[in-house]
């Protein structure tokens, strides 16, 4: 599920004021050649970042480190943080799954639909995250088969107010109908070619999210919910 911050005012009687549910942002922290995957609120977004949590290492399905050429090393099983790639990464990505989730009248439970009491809806969750430390033309194409947000031009050259053209892919192909969220608000849905534009609204850490749903014929879940995060940092320009 896509997650966001920010709340807007409340209202009375039976008109409810909408308040987006936040939390659970995934981000990568690279220190030297080591990589750690966190969830919570990353520093620099103006949210409470006091308690970031490491993503349970057993939920990490794959972690990858890419050179500027686009060549990379992928680890399918990781034992502990930090994940060591033996050198710095120009880009890094990770795929995480917390498994099956089922919404019930008693809350959302981390079990398949066929093991839940009074299931309402259910999904298999995959979350991917990609961080760009620098730009390379090789990064204007998908680097993984995960749900992935691909900037089609150098995002580091952008200023506040500039538009960033994005391509969202799944298994390397354009993903139509993915909802893209930036700074806590939905900014659009990808077209039939997987494209969407996002206007950059500030400097600092940028986190762009996309979510995509695929129906699933299974007794365990109704659909696969994939979310992807693209992060990069924009320096404040005078």
């Amino acid at each position: 599920m896509v997650v966001v911050a920010v709340f807007s005012a409340c209202l009375v009687f039976l008109l409810g004021a909408p308040a987006p549910a936040e939390g659970h942002l995934l981000w990568l922290q690279m220190e030297g050649s080591g990589l750690t995957i966190y969830h919570g609120h990353p520093p620099g977004l103006g949210l409470d970042s006091s308690s970031p949590k490491e993503v349970p290492i057993e939920n990490v399905l794959r972690a990858s480190c890419f050179e500027e050429s686009g060549n990379g090393a992928a680890l399918d099983s990781v034992g502990a943080y930090p994940i060591d790639f033996g050198g710095p990464c120009a880009a890094a990505s990770a795929l995480v799954s917390s498994g099956y989730w089922t919404k019930t009248p008693y809350g959302t439970k981390n079990v398949p639909k066929n093991e839940a009491e009074s299931p309402i809806s259910s999904w298999l969750s995959y979350e991917s995250v990609k961080h760009l430390a620098t730009w390379s033309d090789a990064f204007a194409a998908p680097l993984t088969g995960n749900l992935e947000i691909v900037p089609l031009h150098d995002p580091f050259s952008l200023d506040e107010g500039d538009k960033l053209r994005l391509l969202v892919t799944l298994e390397g192909k354009p993903a139509a109908g993915a909802i893209v969220v930036y700074d806590g608000k939905p900014r659009g849905e990808t077209d039939s070619e997987g494209h969407v534009n996002v206007k950059i609204r500030r400097s600092g850490l940028q986190m762009i999210l996309a979510s995509h749903r695929t129906p699933l014929q299974s007794e365990k879940a109704d659909e696969i919910v994939r979310t992807a995060v693209l992060s990069f940092a924009l320096e404040e320009k005078p």
Binding site: P20, S98, S125, K185
Partner: protein
Amino acid sequence: MTRALYSLVLIALVFSGAAAHDLDHTLGHGEAVVVRFHYADGPVFSYETYEVYRPGETTPFQVGRTDALGRVAFVPDAGGEWRVRAFSEDGHGADIRVDAEASLASAAVPRAASERGVRVLLGIAIILGIFGAWSLHRSRRKG
């Protein structure tokens, strides 16, 4: 006779005990603050845990689950900034502040709209009334 008396006392004790554990209720009308939680991509944050706190307090004023439409409704008994937390087991959540007075004041908006509607209807009724009186007066003069 004595046995009958004991029976009466026993029945009285049983009923007095039951009455003490009865749960009575009263019905009333109040203005509620309603907050609706949803994900940024649309789905409502339904059936998830929430807590509502009075301004400055750490013990929840109200706890429960959001309804099927992702709403939390509470009736504040004091002004100030109330805190509403809603969260799910899969790590999503929101922690917001609600100004109770401002929220309740905004309830006046729909009322004002309905008052405006009543005024419009009243105006139409007056115009129709004047037209009717004029028509009656005119038909009498012709007759």
